[in-house]
Symmetry: C2
Subunit: 636 residues, 2 copies
């Protein structure tokens, strides 16, 4: 198979996605630096490295994986600088990279928790976050090098990777497994791609194969007493469910996605078709059975885990921001090997719904858990929902999501297009440009669009010499009608969700893709019990929700008419966001008499109050007046 | 006020309630004895007493409140013997009562856990179950005396009560509070009524007043480290929510009901109108805001507690059997002071729905948690539902419910009627007889009925001399049409849910009450988010549910037509129960195409499959083929 994607450079210069990239670059990254460097109140992250580097005296603070708040932030800075240079951000990063380099042990080890707190216990606890800390710093090293060309952090990363390659492997004297929190697999593959150093690839392959071939050995280490990750008190305790598995979708949602993304990397680097097919089964199991309509994954807060197929409660879920980022990592890697609109649909679902919802327009407030139904009283008074926050928070004690969002949004351009099999695949529509070489020609494909606010994409293909190739336009799974240059297309014209435009391109060619953005109602598979009899309003890839701000309290009481047309209104009431399309549809709600009932149960009301059900994009929930929200609403 | 109910004797001789009383007497009590005496596998209950009595050597086994499995069983035996003598049961009880008496310390202390395991720590842990163990044994002593006239256990009870009266109180050297698990308040009042010993009443009053007047002192004791009841791992930890409160409905559902029942006792014994009014507010808060349509209470498994008004999830709830028994205790005591149909409705809701559901026809299987929606996979794979069992269990490690059900059902006759304010109030309709004295006359009121299977009750009033009094017939809250001797009645004729039939009775008079049993659909208050857009099929006081056995899998996908008539069918497919009325109504379910969808989300289906939604009484769920069940179903 020819699974390797060709070199390509894409940029996003405007529209919805650029808006979030700018929130990250202009607001979130400076804010996050202030937080992790302790300028906005006590935060130990950067200080831990300063202590480890000998720059200051003090004691380690925070959680055992505190280091990753900084490494993810540096990863994000690297990606952001690739999009747009920023001298002040770069100066801050350069300085802290020096500290990091000085904190590294001579043997390449770098994990300030172990260095400062448990120096004699390195690599003794298979449930530790050491490999997680190593992996994120390796990713940061590559990203910062890609964004700036500077190698200081890449060198740190290589020394860390070399250390991992010495410690782990099949040989006697090496460790043969380590559960912890996955990412090392992805990180080593990424470092191999950046450096060409085959031992990084080989160790990544070994990590994946060891799980596959000797899982007992890999998982055999027993959990230590008093380990900060001891979940014993949850009364769950089934190791099968706690740990990511090569075989099945199980365990902690983020960890599973990171493992599977790493497995996909290994499938690509080794050309392992069986592994690729297995990865696809795992992905389908997640996206066809265990994914919220917003792109959220992870059904339960208990171990932040999956439960069972079609179990998708809307109010007790976890749906952690990082899990959906991991899902994008995984789907993107699969897409690079096997273009398939279903994979792009998954990424689109995440990047227009759960992921932008997880960050406020001010870049300084975040959701970690992303509910589909929320009311403040439940978050406060129902112990099964205390993990759900009804408004975005300024920071979290476990702050994995904010910097992870920053690095993900900053890296969005690489998700837009790939060159594979001699074709250019356009996966995402966004104002911007993709340039690549093909058959000796320098080609650019520019997109002019306000997608997903509008369905029109003007594509300009420019080549410096005539070249025959197929432009593969993704027609999203949600799209029921589309036109190319005004001529209607049909699903019969698509191959795996892509429309091939085969031409001998020369000079500049303009094409127009128009996707029908008429709003529509979606339902869930009948096996999703929580959504029985309910619908979601959608428009293009954008999932809508009903807020108290527009509908009054008790949004779960709304029932929308499934047969009435959905009205669209341009609204501009979310400061910082600009105009967006609001939706409304006629519906019913309980009568005033029913609401005034003293009785808890009474004969069914045959009449009801006429209402207009109003909805806004889910990603904007909680941006106006805080209050109740629901994605799923009753249907008439 | 004249809140004291007059002496009265009622019996239940046939029909639904007698059926469950017989299950208890004939099947459950012998079975439960075999369990707690260790004849059906290891169970330490009776053996603990034997060890404490010096009859055998060994070590205490079980939970700290293990004693109550026996004391509740003896309470149940006492009540059952009052209904029907049973020499073999009585012989077993007499023998074990000797053991109990021998286990009691010279100072009256009796709690085998503390006696055997922590002899030097009596009354040192305010969160212990000591008062709970004492209270249940005191209740058993009274019940056994009432049922048999034998005083051996009553004497044990009096010594225990004397001990409590010495240890607790306002004086220096006495303990001023103890959280634990309430029941001592009820128990002391019951013992006072049985013996006339005022110190029992006075100490019960002190327990209630101390909570009201010096709650900080009452609750001040801090929880001990390592206490078996330390719920710290739940991450809940708000003491306000953990402990029953005099002021608000909060904390553990069973404990709160027991406390409130005791408060109602104290209100009655002291004539405290303010306390009575406060109790009524607490009861209304529970029954109008926090009670399931089945009579279940207790919203969350975390601390087995209430959460907030109208929060009534159907699948993660606790709805413990004991909590609804406690609710009946509370409502019954209130009813004795202030006849009100709403109170009888609450009791009826429990005794025809959640409580019979909690015991199998074989008398040997029980529900502790009583879900309104269940599927086996969720119970197994969703950590928020592992406390829910999809089938009745033979026993529980915390086996509070089986013997509590036994004592409750055995005591049902006392719930049927009361004489108050010179009137006879008929609260429950059941085949049986009530006899009492009034103004020198001996009066009997016999009921002939198959209620709730049928709505007709033939009431025969017989008196040995002419007497004028009002017969107060309860017209249930669910009843929309009724007839007295064929003449239609109306709600305008009712006072607080009762119809007064004032006559100068002489000889034998026959009246016929006919209640319309036409099935109907109920809805919940719109603020119950979990039930939005859903209905429940009901017939009389009986709540129905849809089972997989009748409807196939995915019962949550059913939508019933709210405008179609509901059909009734006599069915006879629950072994041991006899005939019952099944209900069916036209409805819709997802199409085969929707069920076969590979996609998790797709455009809303405008057509659907026609189905007949079939329902059986909730109390019979899980009695045929185990499978899915739901009480609330979608409405069309």
């Amino acid at each position: 198979m020819n699974h390797a994607a060709e070199p390509i450079h894409s940029s996003i210069s405007g529209g919805f996605l650029r808006h979030y990239m700018d929130i990250i670059a202009d607001k979130a990254l400076p804010y996050q630096w202030q937080v992790i460097s302790g300028q906005r109140g006590p935060n130990p992250t950067v200080n831990n490295f300063r202590i480890a580097a000998g720059e200051v005296k003090g004691e380690f603070g925070g959680v055992p994986y505190q280091d990753t708040d900084l490494s993810k932030w540096l990863d994000a800075v690297g990606c952001a600088l690739r999009n747009r240079r920023d001298a002040s951000l770069e100066a801050i990063a350069d300085a802290v990279i020096e500290t990091i380099a000085n904190a590294q042990d001579a043997d390449g080890y770098l994990d300030t928790y172990y260095q400062l707190v448990r120096p004699n216990e390195k690599w003794t606890d298979p449930d530790s976050h050491e490999l997680y800390c190593f992996g994120h710093m390796i990713e940061a090293g590559v990203a910062y090098w890609e964004g700036t060309g500077k190698t200081r952090l890449l060198e740190v990363a290589c020394r860390m990777a070399d250390h991992v390659c010495r410690v782990f492997g099949p040989e006697a004297g090496q460790l043969h497994g380590y559960r912890g929190h996955e990412i090392i697999e992805m990180a080593l593959c990424r470092l191999f791609r950046a450096t060409g150093e085959t031992r990084y690839r080989d160790t990544a392959v070994w990590f994946v194969h060891a799980r596959r071939d000797t899982p007992e050995q890999f998982y055999q280490a027993t959990r230590k007493e008093g380990n900060p990750l001891d979940y014993g008190c949850w009364g769950w305790g089934d190791p099968e469910r706690e740990t990511s598995s090569y075989e099945h979708v199980t365990g902690h949602a983020v960890r599973a996605m990171y493992l599977y993304a790493g497995m996909a990397d290994v499938a690509q680097l080794t050309g392992d078709e069986a592994l690729l097919a297995h990865c696809r089964e795992l992905l389908d199991e997640v996206t066809r059975r265990q994914m919220y309509i917003t792109g959220g994954i992870g059904t339960t807060s208990v171990l932040e885990a999956y439960t069972y197929p079609y179990d998708l409660p809307n109010d007790t879920m976890y749906a952690e921001t990082c899990a959906s980022i991991g899902l994008c990592f995984f789907a993107h890697r699969m897409l690079m090997m096997q273009p398939d609109g279903e994979l792009s649909d998954v990424i689109e679902r995440c990047i227009y719904n759960i992921l932008p919802a997880a960050i406020a327009q001010d870049g300084q407030h975040y959701f970690y858990v992303n509910p589909l139904q929320v009311n403040e009283e439940a978050c406060r008074r129902d112990p099964l929902k205390t993990h759900v926050k009804p408004v975005r928070q300024a920071w979290y004690e476990c702050a994995c999501c904010p910097p992870n969002l920053a690095r993900f949004f900053s890296s969005l351009p690489r998700y837009t297009a790939t060159v594979q099999e001699g074709r250019l695949w356009l996966h995402l529509y966004a104002q911007g440009c993709t340039s690549f070489k093909l058959g000796g020609a320098n080609i650019t494909v520019a997109q002019h669009t306000d997608y997903p606010m509008e369905g029109r994409v003007r594509i300009t293909v420019a080549t410096d010499k005539p070249t025959a190739f197929a432009l593969m336009l993704r027609i999203p799974g949600w799209c029921r009608r589309f036109w190319i240059d005004g001529r209607p297309g049909s699903s019969g014209m698509l191959s795996r969700g892509y429309l091939a435009i085969e031409r001998n391109w020369s000079g500049e060619t303009v094409l127009t893709l128009e996707m029908d953005m008429t709003p529509y109602m979606m339902q869930a598979h009948p096996r999703v019990r929580e959504d029985s009899g309910k619908i979601v309003l959608t428009r293009g890839p954008v999932v809508y929700c009903c807020e108290e701000a527009d509908n009054g309290a008790l949004v779960e009481d709304l029932r929308a008419s499934a047969s009435a047309p959905i009205e669209q209104t341009w609204q501009n009431d979310v400061p910082g966001f600009g105009e967006y399309v609001g939706l409304s549809v006629p519906g019913k709600a309980s009568s005033a008499a029913a609401l005034a009932e003293e009785r808890l149960y009474f004969p069914v009301e045959m009449s009801a109050r006429n209402v207009t059900v109003k909805a806004i994009p889910y990603c904007l929930w909680g941006e106006r007046v805080p209050g109740e929200m629901t994605v799923w609403i009753g249907r008439l």
